[in-house]
């Protein structure tokens, strides 16, 4: 998720500082994306205020906690990236989960606050299941 990406950017920045200070081993960041960008130039699209997609995981992931693979629908609620908001499903070795996240302040209604103040995640197989 972009949260991770952002966190990694911070980690990378800290790592670079560390490298500069200690000449330690290089640190590489890495999230991989298969990104589908949807058209939003039409008035009826960008003012719709209700967006949905169907998503499912064909099978689980071998990613060990806390790492994962995931898929999501996201919208930007501001013209800049701080409006980034997403909802999707996430898989790792322990199961399949739903999650919701935003760069904006968030009030959690369900699940646990994996990203306090910004997002939440369900327990395994809550609402979502593999292949469905």
């Amino acid at each position: 998720m972009k949260l991770v990406h952002r966190a990694k950017s911070l980690i990378r920045a800290l790592a670079i500082c560390t490298v500069l200070l200690t000449v330690a081993a290089p640190v590489l960041a890495g999230n991989d994306f298969i990104q589908g960008e949807l058209r939003v130039d039409r008035y009826e699209v960008y003012t719709a205020c209700d967006y949905q997609t169907l998503l499912y995981a064909g099978e689980g992931s071998n990613a060990p906690f806390p790492w994962f693979t995931c898929a999501w629908l996201s919208v930007h609620l501001t013209s800049e990236s701080e409006g980034f908001t997403q909802v999707g499903i996430l898989t790792d070795q322990t199961g399949v989960y739903w999650f919701a996240y935003s760069y904006l302040p968030v009030t959690i209604l369900r699940g646990w606050p994996k990203w306090p103040g910004h997002g939440c995640q369900g327990i395994p197989n809550d609402i979502v299941q593999l292949g469905r």
Partner: protein
């Protein structure tokens, strides 16, 4: 998954919501934003991993039909546009070995897989994601027996188009693709199939574009043999092929049948003789979506020496399109091609007929798809709209075929006749027809128009280059004159010239590309008229069978 703006007291909020498989919705989180619009939307598959090495965790996700709600109704996310292109892209270096996208699942452009890859069927870039136009090309060759396909794609839109040409083998495998991100408005992209890295290959292709496009395929063979077809041929579960041959004065037919549906097609091809009697039948089951199966009459010894009509059917309801190539065994012998036809009519329009005009004569092959006979006659007109001759009627047997040959009317048409014609039913059911025009060592073919046409037509392949020039024939099927404007543009979409012919009722006009293009120029033309018209384009060179024709694309 849903992101929706709704009222959460004391004001409106954005809510992340999820639905279970029974359709029950669950609100997950409130996003505190007063925004009443969105600025960007994404559907993404992601791998999150620790530094430093990329472990390429397995990811297998399916994305299906993103939608937005307007006026209380859900709508599929709109097709791509030239300036706001929907596309799938992957992180550099991960595709296709590790991750990729597999679009158009089940032939549905809004259903795609994104995740762990490892096969050449996975795309690193899909552009556009939701095409505004999809065009099927049944017969594509790349260095195949000396044959090469050149695909002319015209952007009919008013803005830049993203275009993707996907090539499929006979098993439906997506074996290659070529992308042009920025095809200028009204510009033309001429793509040789060999540019996709294909060699000694024949198969099919599908053109996905973010704007409406018109496509013509020119197939150039050895010894100056050529044929072309407009790649927007009729589609249907039953297609009619008025003229097929085997060992008939050296003529044979290769029938390319493409599945344009979303599931595998079962195809049945039935040959009959001209009298309508059953001759032979062949089948091909499980033709994958997008794939072509070739039916060469040379392989069907049961036909013997044969000429007659054929019927192509999908026995499981999956739509097809087809191109029939007719070829002769003579060295450098002529080739021609026409579409399988879906729509029969009681009147068909033929923009170009010849009787010894520049050495050309015309054969109009009619097919009667009905179980009772049909009676037809031909009305040959002069270009000024005056009726030249109406033939006696001919009766086409049930399921059979018949032809009108201008050579049979030498005394009535004269020795140098050229003009448009109308094929008219006098009794029985509707028919389909094609026109083959032949000269010494040369031949070309086009399909009779079953309607009076359109006031807008796209002509994607025009040129005055090498030995080639293109001749455009516009027929006015109406009784009153039509005012037309024909605009020529080069491959960049730049205007190169226009003509404004007034076409008499039942008459025709002829324009030649060299009057508008400087030598060496290729491009397209667009016909606008105040009444519906029909158009063919003959592409003519100076050597051998450098002659081929395509039907103008109605818009």
């Amino acid at each position: 998954m849903e992101l929706v703006r709704r009222y959460y007291a004391p004001d409106w909020k954005w809510v992340a919501r999820i639905y279970d498989t029974y359709g029950n919705g669950y609100d997950l989180a409130i996003i505190h934003s007063g925004s009443n619009r969105i600025y960007k939307a994404l559907c993404v598959t992601e791998e999150a991993y620790p530094d430093p090495a990329d472990p390429f965790w397995t990811a297998k996700f399916y994305h299906y039909h993103p939608q937005y709600k307007s006026g209380g109704t859900w709508y599929d996310w709109p097709a791509s546009s030239g300036t706001n292109v929907n596309k799938i892209t992957t992180t550099e270096g991960t595709c296709p070995a590790h991750y990729g996208a597999l679009p158009y699942l089940g032939g549905d452009p809004r259903y795609w897989y994104a995740g762990t890859a490892g096969s050449n069927q996975y795309w690193c870039q899909v552009n556009p994601l939701f095409p505004a136009s999809t065009t099927y090309l049944p017969d594509i060759k790349a260095n195949y027996g000396g044959w090469n396909s050149f695909i002319a794609i015209r952007n009919n839109g008013s803005q830049t188009a993203a275009v993707q040409v996907a090539f499929y083998d006979s098993n439906g495998n997506h074996v290659a693709d070529k992308v042009k991100e920025n095809l200028s408005a009204r510009g033309t992209w001429i793509l040789p199939a060999t540019d996709a890295g294909l060699n000694n290959w024949r198969g099919s292709a599908v053109v996905y574009a973010s704007e409406d496009v018109g496509v013509v395929v020119n197939n150039h063979g050895p010894n100056n043999t050529n044929y072309s077809y407009s790649a927007a041929g009729p589609q249907g579960t039953t297609l009619y092929l008025p003229s097929t041959h085997r060992n008939d004065w050296g003529w044979y037919s290769d029938i390319a049948v493409q599945n344009v549906g979303t599931t595998a097609a079962n195809v049945r091809l039935t040959f009959r003789n001209a009298g309508g009697t059953y001759k032979h039948q062949v089948t091909a089951n499980n033709v994958p979506p997008g794939a072509t199966r070739f039916f060469p009459t040379a392989s069907y010894g049961q036909l013997g020496s044969y000429y007659g009509p054929a019927v192509l059917e999908s026995t499981n309801g999956v739509p097809l399109t087809a191109v029939v190539r007719e070829w002769n065994t003579a060295s450098g012998g002529p080739d021609l091609a026409y579409h399988g036809l879906a729509s029969a009519a009681n009147r068909l329009y033929l923009p170009s007929q010849h009787k010894d005009s520049w050495g050309w004569t015309s054969w109009v092959h009619m097919q009667n798809p009905n179980s009772s006979s049909a009676t037809m006659r031909m009305r040959y007109y002069q270009t000024n709209g005056a009726l030249k001759y109406t033939t006696p009627t001919k009766t086409i047997p049930a399921h059979g075929s018949k032809y009108f040959w201008t050579g049979d009317y030498a005394s009535q048409l004269g020795s140098n006749y050229f003009g448009p014609a109308e094929l008219e039913r006098t009794s029985g059911g509707n028919v389909v027809a094609i026109c083959n025009e032949v000269n010494t060592g040369k031949a070309l073919s086009y399909s009779g128009f079953p309607t009076t046409g359109s006031s807008s037509l796209c002509l994607p392949a025009q040129g005055y280059v090498g030995d080639w020039n293109t001749w455009t024939f516009i027929q006015n099927p109406n009784g009153a004159s039509a005012n037309a404007t024909v605009t020529y543009r080069d491959t960049n979409g730049t205007w190169r010239g226009s003509s404004t012919p007034t076409i008499p009722g039942h008459g025709s006009a002829c324009l030649v590309a060299s009057d508008f293009f400087s030598y060496g120029t290729q491009g397209s033309a667009w016909v606008s008229a105040n009444r519906p018209v029909v158009t063919i384009v003959n592409q003519v060179g100076s050597a051998g069978d450098q002659t081929m024709s395509y039907n103008g694309l109605l818009r």
